[in-house]
Subunit: 121 residues, 2 copies
DNA sequence: CTTGAATCTGACATGGATGGCAAGTTTTAC
DNA sequence: GTAAAACTTGCCATCCATGTCAGATTCAAG
């Protein structure tokens, strides 16, 4: 599939897909004329990338992480080295923190929303 | 307490605390000479603000939300109006999505970390 | 062919919280 | 009263994914 279809199927803009490629997060075959041609696996990969972005990881970390994931786009490929494991452990803690923050904030929102729905309490 | 101590106690830079004030997220008494003087409640408020920032809300939404929270810095004050409730409901859904993303990403990190810890699997 | 849609590259803009600097004032301590 | 530390305001810089625009090229269909 080409970039437009991938964009449609993932909800990620073509602009971002090109950016992902430049950051080394994904590759694409090229037609003789230079247009990108993606395989089916690209959809999952893009979604995975988006999730990692949403989790606050930067392109560089994601680029290091992706080849260590299994079923990312084929083989389990490589195993994380010590430095990366250390980095990822830090990220993991950050994510835990973020989840806790989110849960608290969600409670706050719920309280406010509920208070507004029960006007005469 | 003054801004330096509040910064120390919350882990938020003085720069950011002034920014919060300019965005209408918090207020401070002033000494005759113009220095900010915070009450004890400021610590909790700053932490709450940080959590909401971490949850992806922008200053404007937080500013609207804060007066509708109970025990924010005194009274329950005001009740959210329809527009705000609608906005907050959208934010709430976004937060739910984000939590789901974070949980998935955390799993990914755990897999990679674990795979690296069990080298001969 | 020809035409319109899709894609290419490259450069510049944006948002929003935060960092940093500069020059001046206030506070604190001796 | 003096010096150092803390604070004030204001402005510009940064990060980083994403948006946007322009001009050129390619692809698909008639």
């Amino acid at each position: 599939m080409r970039i437009g279809e991938l964009a449609r199927r993932t909800g990620v803009s073509g602009r971002s897909l090109r950016y992902y490629e430049k950051q080394g997060l994904m590759t694409a075959e090229r037609t003789p004329g230079g247009h990108r041609e993606y395989g089916e696996g690209a959809v999952d990969r893009v979604i995975r990338i988006q999730e990692l972005f949403a989790a606050g990881l930067c392109s560089e970390k994601i680029a290091q992480l992706l080849p260590c994931m299994r079923d990312s786009d084929g083989g389990p490929s490589r195993t994380a080295n010590g430095q990366l494991v250390s980095d990822l452990t830090v990220e993991r803690e950050r994510i835990d923190h973020m989840i806790a923050d989110l849960l608290r904030s969600r409670e706050v929102l719920d309280e406010v929303i509920e208070a507004a729905s029960a006007p005469s309490e």
